[in-house]
Symmetry: C2
Subunit: 732 residues, 2 copies
Amino acid sequence: MYSDGRVRRNAAMAKEESAWPTQNTSAASNWGFPRILIPVARNTNPILMTRIFAILLMLNLALTTSPPDVLGDEGMYLFNDLPTKLLKDRHGFEPSAEWADHLRLSSVRFNSGGSGSFISSDGLVLTNHHVASDTLHKLSTPERNLIDDGFLAKTKADELKTPDLELNQLVSIEDVTNRINAGVKTDASAEDAATQRRAAIAKIESESTESTGLRSDVVTLFGGAQYHLYRYKKYTDVRLVWAPETEAAFFGGDADNFEYPRFNVDATIMRVYENGQPAKLDHYLKWNRDPITDGELVFVSGNPGRTQRIFTVAALEFLRDDRIPYVLEYLRRKEILMQQFGLEGKEQTRRARDELFGIQNARKAYTGMLAGLQNPQTMATKRGREDRLLQQVGERDEIKGLASAWKEVNEIQAEKREMLSQSASLRSTLFDLAQQIALLAAEDKKPNEERLRGFTDSSRDSLLQELLSTAPIYTDLEQAKLADELSRMIIQRGADDRLVIEILAGQSPGERAASLVAGTKLNDVAVRQALIDGGLNEVLDSDDPMIELARKMESEYRRIRKRNEEIEERERQAYAKITEATTAIEGTGGYPDATFTLRLAFGTVKGYEEDGNSIPPFTNFAGAYEHAAQHEGQADFDLPASWMKSKGQVALDTQLNFVCTADIIGGNSGSPVVNRNGELVGLIFDGNIQSLTSDYIYSDVQGRAVSVAGVGILESLRSIYDAKELADQIGR
Amino acid sequence: MYSDGRVRRNAAMAKEESAWPTQNTSAASNWGFPRILIPVARNTNPILMTRIFAILLMLNLALTTSPPDVLGDEGMYLFNDLPTKLLKDRHGFEPSAEWADHLRLSSVRFNSGGSGSFISSDGLVLTNHHVASDTLHKLSTPERNLIDDGFLAKTKADELKTPDLELNQLVSIEDVTNRINAGVKTDASAEDAATQRRAAIAKIESESTESTGLRSDVVTLFGGAQYHLYRYKKYTDVRLVWAPETEAAFFGGDADNFEYPRFNVDATIMRVYENGQPAKLDHYLKWNRDPITDGELVFVSGNPGRTQRIFTVAALEFLRDDRIPYVLEYLRRKEILMQQFGLEGKEQTRRARDELFGIQNARKAYTGMLAGLQNPQTMATKRGREDRLLQQVGERDEIKGLASAWKEVNEIQAEKREMLSQSASLRSTLFDLAQQIALLAAEDKKPNEERLRGFTDSSRDSLLQELLSTAPIYTDLEQAKLADELSRMIIQRGADDRLVIEILAGQSPGERAASLVAGTKLNDVAVRQALIDGGLNEVLDSDDPMIELARKMESEYRRIRKRNEEIEERERQAYAKITEATTAIEGTGGYPDATFTLRLAFGTVKGYEEDGNSIPPFTNFAGAYEHAAQHEGQADFDLPASWMKSKGQVALDTQLNFVCTADIIGGNSGSPVVNRNGELVGLIFDGNIQSLTSDYIYSDVQGRAVSVAGVGILESLRSIYDAKELADQIGR
């Protein structure tokens, strides 16, 4: 299970994090929570953890004998640099340009965090239920619980308009490395270089948006060695067509999350509209209506959120010793907070559930990542590989000057450590809105190229889409979150900190949160619109307590953000050198770390061995019913009423879930899995427990991507969800 | 709800903590977990928190106008220094020596953490279900779930022998301050003073044990200004007679915990045996079989675990800024760990539940305490009071030298901060056993007076009772806990720490935990017995991996413990001076901070105002059924089948729970509430949300102790639990 939209709050933040490696240094995430999309660690149970270590042990042996460039089916390739030779050599398959273009244009990025695909000429989009659940939550009310009950629009008129989704279709990629680098003076300080680079990026993006009308993002690749301009067609009128019940989508709950075999229909269908009509699409995926076969070559086209495979040992140590423990502490804190809020009653449980689920998902992922990094053998392997590389670099005169980059990365970690807990944000919807509105007003006064990332002309529409969302804001939940954030800020900055004293205004965290939430008018979209329209004067004049608070904190926020961006820039420069050195030693043909942009992965449908057992690649509907029976009375193992009622009609041997070796990570949730013919055969929704180290190390010995079978989705639509018509339309 | 036995693992630890103020400096608790008994903060919900702040605000007004010595019915008085004048003046009641002796001898301390009382001449003991739940858990199996299903012994032969309980009856108190102080040289360094004091204590305790055969504990009072010798008769053959279902005992669960009105039968009955026969008791409480009346004067005789009312502002700041955040982080970590373990299946849920409950209880208590301390007004009040006191001290020549004590306490906090995360323990049953056995073997070689606290001759029996407990040890749970502790140790000490590297032995935390748990034989009581009998040679020769690990960590453990004890000693000396100064200014007649020893509190049965509503003092059985109906379908709000079945028989207007103003805190759980006649009228089981600041500040404006009514217990026995015979016997 992957975390999704609920952890990336708006386009500005999403954009910031698409530049690599920003994991904690971007100002938007300086409060320590991962807004990126991450795979979930199944469990902290040591028995299960042992399975991870077993695979790490195998990797260790593999790596120490020969450090290969890529391992097995490793790789998340750029669509403008596909591994054609490798595919031909290994799988006898040569993707044509048309094949690749069609797949790219049929792929969709959920800007809220996740992937999807077009599956009909009239705008249908397939993604995961857990990618859509943020939207399902926003569309739900105490009376209409889409999360519990699912949804089916019987006609187009019944489709529900979503409050703030933005879907992106990748139209073109252009290498702009030279233009960016030309904008940065060679002798610039890190601070100046960051400013100059940001200006160059803003200029290219704005020019592109102006000339093409397309969303235009410059993406930092290979740790700053390359910059590519990605142009997207945006869809912002997105409507809900079908969603199953959570009991079916997340069958087995936390206990089965990250496990295999699985039996989940983690799927949801939406439709994009243009000018009030279903969008007419030239590119969409046909569906293969036959079962998948064992050993079949498959491709995954989606948007992996972040990997850290380029990281030096020092950077991994920072993760292990500082950043991940810090983030885990934060996540546990928020997990308990949301649980406690939910105890207040059924409606509170409903309000907190979606966010709680996202937090639990992230907490599990980080727990698993930490477990891998705390294995002394993992680090020994990484260190051995780095030592050999450094030795080779030192032996070659033309690149030995690059060796200093490793030292620079090392030094930068100490600065990141120091910045880790520095924050001037109070994570809650209302404060986030106030902060973004205040920043927007101030940034608008500056020339486009001097603005903070996320506030340039080219980002404006996506930002407004978020700021003017009609999603409900629950004041009781906001108050609980704000009180907790204030309490946390007292601990982090100290009770005697000038800013803390000013923020609390003599009140306790609980009192202050209550008065802020009671006093602000920002839950009203019209009020937000008026503030945005009124610009800086309106914001400066506002006596809304949340806006006043955001303004109080603004200079400290900017100070921290600036410092983090400077650190980020220096790290970027160092990794660009490391990439140069590595390429000189190991050659090209690789792939950059994930950046939440479209990538192609490939793999084979294949089971695996675990504790002496053969885990077959497929499951079917019969297995789902058996699994429910085996776990009777255990929470999260009830199949929904629709399933129990329809058992007689379902073709029980239909494939339901399957695994393959493709290299995926969080953000790939909702990615289509296609065959050689470019036909959809599955829908990525999870990685198994053995794949959770893939943030920094890939393995296909046991690591597997988990998909819903396309035929399984069709069968559930036909025989369970009374949606035969929909099933007949899609993928034709 | 109060935390109980599960957080105090053995007599040695319990004893250490009876010396004040050891909250984090005692070696046994250097890993940061509160073994003391603490009241639970109801909720982190800011709406509820606001209620705490409202009461703090009221206190603030009260305190700033006149800083009284004690507030309302404040006080946890020593049985050898009862507030007779105050009781006579305020309530017109003069307790006779016989009255007090009878109450003292009818009171019971659960050495596992909690209070109780004798309620029949043939050994029946009443306590809380949540004090007994640790024992219920240990007596349960997958087939016999006493936690879920409750228990009733139809005959004495059916009573279940508990695996490791020790009950204490306070036989006498003797002031030994002069003897202790005579043993400490005036010019001794803190380190030497600590050693000398420990030696003096050990000598007194051992002599007393030898001459009387009674458990003999020297208790540090008034922060070291007084030392009293407490002698206890011990009961170690304790059998379970009756327990209700958790659904009845903890009706309303986490959501209702710390709330009022309440409807809980949080009661359990045991019986003490001597020589295989029910103990014949001269002192036990008669029960009043009439309803309690509003405004009635009542007394609570129990063992409050710890208060910190003497704390200076600097000490409270350390709590607020360092210690409580640190402990909360630990508790949240363990709460998630236990929850995740429980997801593995029903049996795992059962195994983890009791510990999970204790952790949640503690987490809520600390959250509430922190909320109070983070209120700027609380600290301003405390600071104002301290400033006035210091000014008065400075104005009086004979005591102005004592003013330095505040500065010393301040300096000591920095050292405590530094020691906070230092630990050489791995919290789990198997490691704790190994560590205690290894320490015991080494300590046994030393003269009695040089031994660590908890390992002296007088402590030996209680320690063995714990080490040789027949309670089941679940290896899967042990493995999960140990893996988590190892992972935490890597973070705290660093992956490159010599001891960490040695402990991990090249393995990951998960692997290492698995091999330790698989390799150790310590789950076998006979193996533990043999190691203890064999002494140091046996331990040194042992190739049990857990024993080997404990030995590897022993010198570091001793180093940390020694350092903490030295800090503790200096703090004790400073607080003794502060007590001297305070007494000089404010007079005597007060009470020392709680030390998990027998105290008498008093108060009146009284409702209170909340948000404009009058909360009546009593609830009844009818209310319980209504409460269940109002919360239908919500977790933890189902009354058990026994209740639903018996609704027709129950006298619905019988009192079930009530509140009074008595000054209690964690550890008072299970305390009898008696009337002027010394008759039992209730059983303490909780404090309401407004009482949770009472760790450092008492108030009876809204703060209330919550009890099960004696008549409610009798009615449930008669009409619900088919235990009419038992009901007729008790308290006669």
